[in-house]
Subunit: 334 residues, 2 copies
Amino acid sequence: MKVAMTGAAGFLGQRFISRVLADPTLPTPNGPEAVEELRLFDVIRPALPAGADTAQEALTIVTQVGDITCADDLAQLLGDSVDVVIHLAAVVSSAAEADLDLGLRVNLDGTRMLLEACRGLTRPPMVIFASSVAAYGGSLPDVVTDDTALTPQSSYGAQKAIGEQLINDFSRRGLIDGRVLRLPTIAVRPGRPNAAASSFASSIIREPLQGEDAVLPVAEDLLLYLLSPRAVVRNMVHALGIPGSAFGTWRSVMLPGCTVSVGEMLSALARTGGSDVRSRVRHEPDSRIEAIVGSWPARFDTTRATALGFDGDGDIDAIVEAFLEDDCTAGIHQ
Amino acid sequence: MKVAMTGAAGFLGQRFISRVLADPTLPTPNGPEAVEELRLFDVIRPALPAGADTAQEALTIVTQVGDITCADDLAQLLGDSVDVVIHLAAVVSSAAEADLDLGLRVNLDGTRMLLEACRGLTRPPMVIFASSVAAYGGSLPDVVTDDTALTPQSSYGAQKAIGEQLINDFSRRGLIDGRVLRLPTIAVRPGRPNAAASSFASSIIREPLQGEDAVLPVAEDLLLYLLSPRAVVRNMVHALGIPGSAFGTWRSVMLPGCTVSVGEMLSALARTGGSDVRSRVRHEPDSRIEAIVGSWPARFDTTRATALGFDGDGDIDAIVEAFLEDDCTAGIHQ
């Protein structure tokens, strides 16, 4: 099995690669298969997570620095054949809001160019596309489902909704075998704050537990819908094994997250780290962040996702615990 | 008021132009305004409907042959300023299904290029975009609303859904003041059959009334959702007068059509033209047409459209009558 990945330098890409290094077998609709080749693509050279140097000899890892809107770069990435394309490359929400042209170029043109490149392969690849809760917005029902209209209130959300249409139409035409995973807000993300409007949702847990201060730009009663990085990767892997027909006439599915208020996140932080750790979070309202994140729904009926075998974390304590186990291995900085 | 129109050679464009020639005043959210300039753009030279030669001297009409994906052509069309852009240019449903590249180029790139061109104007123009019932599809509720997810089962529908996202995002950002009208199947369209999968819905009324045979490619129990050309133009004009804020957080609205089975259409044909006229329709099933048109819903709750002041034809007899009055002026060919 040959797997190509865009956005491979990002934290989800890195975690997926670690999963393959730890266990170079992935599900397919026809049963598990060994990964023979991992082609990693990004605008910067994707790092190889720990374990890459001791990986099995049967697994070839190729890294490529390229532009996702460059047909030649994509042709090089895909070669003559590839079994799975995992498309994670994106300009994130605040960045796409600040620069419409950049967002359109990477999120719309990039996705389209990648799909065009797939048409040149000897057989249609499976394509996993990371969409987002940000594709929802505006006037929404109390409980959102996969059947709720995508009326996003950010350019990032609009561009993800457009990507979903392209993945679905190319799948319907048999040019690819696509699966769209709408990701909840991912927390706790490892690393440093980024230009995602939801970056704070990781910062307010991650930084205090590591001895640093964090800024909360939204009110404590704001509801979020969260999924841990480990659960995202588990669901990405799961998606590879589902037959396309199981999705019916639409390949998009909202992954099951955990509905939690920012206040409940801070309470979980205090439960895990104590009140000193909790006190490292200070409130500095940012209306720009509140406008974007506040437009995302936080209550979902994920019956369809559950029926397809996807699953979430459970509760906010499990999400904090996942961070401690996966990324905060030095322990809590009291 | 300066009005630019793409797809001006098409039947809806032509009928809108006739409306302006008959009454060179259009509504705006600030009250009626005289049209000073009408800029007509298409891939072929747009004809000027009857009345153009005797139009008021105060109305300048310019026709332009151009490529909607050519930035220079669009810059020429829009000039320094334009108040209203009516975007009708499209590759229709069967053609977009037969040629994915052509549909993506005109329906996606063309719409995007037009919106990009609007960013260069001295102030944001109002943009009317013709979307379609074809943007719906797949697993749908019994009664569809503006809040139903767009899960189209044709490339044309996917491309219209993408256009809707772009119009909405550019409107939200204040780059344009957009309105998206989702058109029901338009019948009875004047002229000859075209590459729209729904072309038969006009043919089975138009051809028999004019003494010609027509082919019905679908079953008589297929339900359609119809709107007459005159009602489309009336609703397009009406949309110009609605304040953007009245649309709330989403600029798309499904226009109120008329739910009717093909069998009921044939009964209306017999009521109007007699049994000999009715017998000019012969059934030749076409699974390709049935697959596309059968994916479009036919029952809608258009409460929102009605609240915004849009309205339909009433019933199938009114639709046939509109054709006789507007386009079949030589009378019924018995």
